[in-house]
């Protein structure tokens, strides 16, 4: 699987893809603002990307960088008011999601785009059996008889590797562990075989030992069903294991986008460098690495989104920021083939010698 991911990464870099497959999901110039008393908060500012069938795209960034709002925007679930998608377009195949009315949206959600949430402990209704909750989405989008429905529920629970599915279907969420509940959420999300699955930090709330199982499950099912996955996370380890392409977001904007291999090998944006440097490594912990000792952090915090600096949004925290960074916004451009970034000083920082 890792091999495939690497190949996909290379395919991205060799500008001419062998199969000019049309994207399942195309997001163009998406802007989602929250209108608050202290002004418009630009939670998502001009974000574009495309997603191919069966592909995994990771969106990474710190808390508050707009990755979750991006996900909610795709399903038009941003609470309005105060949030509103101000401009841009989201196309799922031939459907313009932003043009849909309520009824059209309800038909789309759960059938064409699904979402797995961060909190498996509270994402299931505590007073309904999991079988009924799973049955609800099937009843809504498909016409099934009672016995077909029951069979499909058990089939889906088995698909997400819940043992003894018949008995589990009759249980309530509190009788299941966190990992089991997340499996149920995955079953609900994949019940109608959606084109796109959005996984918003699907493993954050889980035990580390269960995290790997859940990820493995998502990747397996994705291969089996050909679902395109958007993985939203702040865990770069997770990204390396599952995604083919990565978008790095900062303060509501896309700052870098690249194939997985390229991003980890040659991060262009200084923020991405900071993120990578802040990952703990075994050598570092044992004091064997060249920069042994303290784990690197990115100084400061994400700026308030209603009060962004005029130039590069990362400038106040960037070790290489200069006058131009503070006054002029860097263009989002292709620094290397298939590798985009918005930075005046791409590549390695000074003094490292590998620029």
């Amino acid at each position: 699987m890792q091999m495939q991911a690497d190949q996909a990464g290379f395919a991205d870099q060799t500008a001419s893809a062998p199969l000019p497959e049309r994207a399942v999901l195309e997001v163009d110039g998406l802007k989602t603002y929250f209108f608050t008393r202290s002004g418009a908060v630009k939670a998502v500012d001009d974000v574009s990307f495309a997603l191919k069938r069966g592909e995994t795209l990771a969106i990474v960034g710190e808390s508050g960088c707009g990755k979750s709002v991006t996900a909610l925007s795709l399903m038009r679930l941003v609470p309005d008011p105060p949030g509103r998608i101000v401009s841009g377009s989201i196309r799922l195949g031939d459907t313009d999601i932003l043009a849909l009315d309520d009824e059209g949206l309800r038909a789309l959600r759960g059938r064409d785009i699904s979402m797995i949430f961060q909190e498996p402990m509270t994402s299931l209704n505590p007073v309904m059996t999991i079988g009924r909750q799973l049955g609800e989405v099937l009843q809504l989008h498909e016409t099934l008889t009672r016995s077909q429905l029951r069979a499909k529920v058990v089939e889906l629970l088995s698909l997400v590797r819940i043992p003894d599915a018949v008995r589990r279907a009759k249980q309530y969420p509190h009788q299941l562990s966190g990992g089991m509940r997340q499996r149920v959420m995955i079953a609900i999300a994949l019940a109608c075989n959606p084109k796109v699955l959005i996984a918003d930090e699907p493993t954050t709330a889980l035990d580390v030992t269960v995290q790997a199982q859940i990820l493995e499950l998502i990747v397996d099912l994705q291969k089996k069903l050909g679902t395109a996955v958007i993985l939203i996370t702040h865990d770069l380890g997770l990204v390396a294991q599952t995604a083919q392409r990565v978008i790095v977001m900062y303060a509501g904007r896309k700052v870098e986008e690249a194939g997985i291999a390229a991003l980890f090998a040659e991060p262009q944006h200084q923020y991405t460098r900071g993120l990578l440097a802040s990952l703990p490594r075994l050598g570092l912990m044992r004091g064997q690495a060249a920069d042994a000792g303290r784990l690197q952090e990115i100084p400061g915090i994400v700026p308030a989104l209603h009060h962004l600096p005029p130039g590069c949004v990362f400038a106040p925290r960037c070790p290489r920021a200069d006058q131009r960074c503070r006054s002029e916004m860097p263009a989002y451009e292709e620094k290397r083939p298939g590798h985009w970034a918005a930075c005046w000083h791409p590549g390695a920082p000074n003094g490292r010698g590998d620029d």
């Binding site: 399903m75 679930l77 949206l105 309800r106 038909a107 789309l108 959600r109 759960g110 059938r111 699904s114 979402m115 949430f117 961060q118 909190e119 509270t122 994402s123 299931l124 209704n125 505590p126 007073v127 309904m128 609800e136 989405v137 809504l140 989008h141 043992p163 003894d164 008995r167 509190h174 009788q175 562990s177 959420m185 609900i188 999300a189 030992t209 199982q213």
Partner: protein, 297 residues
């Protein structure tokens, strides 16, 4: 990893295989007061159901020879000034109390729950309007509102139920609304939206069932106070009229003139009222502890 999972599951399965009866016994041991309340209410309900079979006399039958008869083999709890058997009247009165208690709380729920759900889930100007009306209603005590309503509607069993149900609506809709406000921000509501369910469906099928636990607790307590208010209204002559035997009116008929001469006329109906209300409150308290999500295992 699967071995461990299976182990945990087996253990859980073993722990969860219990019959309803075993569950009830476990709860009774854990909440002895609640069980006592449940037993009291059960006796109360059974009495009301089997009233004609239990009572030795017709509760409306007068007998001049038995006027103010003390406790005896014939009249277990004595007789009133018209010679009506007190025990039979208390048994018969349980029907009235049960009808008023159940009827008014159910009617209160029927009106209050939709108002609370609508107001809490959809909010906006509707919520604002409804809540101000409810504020006004809540500023008056239960008895006072019921009194005004009963006086306006006139004395009858149906009107008594309506008169008591109306002042119950604010507290019922308040508790549903406040729980709805918290519940609608829960991730499972957003998850329900994400699979394409409509807002009305989410409100009725996902939010409402989650408000039931606190509602049941409230309703049990309100059942007790409804019985008390009925007794008070009947005491004041505004409740259930003759010839129905009502505990409250039994008190009012005898309290002034016969309290010293025939204290059983006051003591036994009073005990009946206290016991029914006490039972409802005990059960309500136990239910509150039982259904508290923080204590739920």
């Amino acid at each position: 990893m699967t071995a461990i999972e299976h182990g945990v599951e087996l253990e859980r399965a073993g722990a969860s295989i219990t019959t309803r009866w075993q569950g009830a016994r476990f709860m009774a041991r854990r909440y002895p007061l609640g069980a006592a309340g449940a037993v009291i209410l059960l006796i109360f309900v059974l009495t009301a159901m089997l009233a004609t079979a239990i009572s030795p006399f017709d509760p409306t039958l007068t007998d001049s020879h038995a006027s103010l008869a003390p406790l005896s083999k014939a009249h277990w709890l004595g007789a009133d000034f018209m010679g009506r058997d007190v025990f039979s009247r208390i048994v018969g009165g349980s029907r009235i109390s049960l009808a008023v208690g159940l009827g008014s709380t159910l009617l209160g729920c029927l009106v209050g729950v939709p108002i609370g759900l609508l107001s809490g889930y959809f909010g906006g100007w509707l919520d604002l309007l409804v809540q101000r009306v409810i504020d006004m209603m809540q500023s008056l005590p239960l008895l006072v509102t019921a009194l005004v309503m009963a006086a306006a509607l006139g004395p009858s069993l149906r009107n008594t139920i309506i008169a008591i149900a109306i002042p119950l609506v604010p507290s019922i809709s308040r508790i549903v609304r406040s729980n709805t406000l918290a519940l609608k921000e829960m991730p499972f509501v957003e998850a329900a939206r994400a699979i394409g369910l409509s807002e009305t469906w989410i409100a009725v099928r996902h939010v409402l069932p989650n408000t039931l636990a606190p509602l049941i607790v409230l309703v049990t307590a309100q059942f007790g106070s409804a019985i008390l208010v009925e007794a008070s209204l009947s005491f004041l002559g505004l409740g259930v009229p003759e010839p129905y035997p009502s505990w409250g009116r039994m008190l009012s008929e005898s309290a002034a003139e016969y309290m010293r001469a025939a204290p059983w006329l006051v003591i036994f109906p009073g005990m009946a009222i206290s016991l029914a209300v006490f039972g409802a409150n005990l059960l309500g308290d136990a239910l509150r502890d039982m259904l508290d999500p923080r204590l739920r295992s």
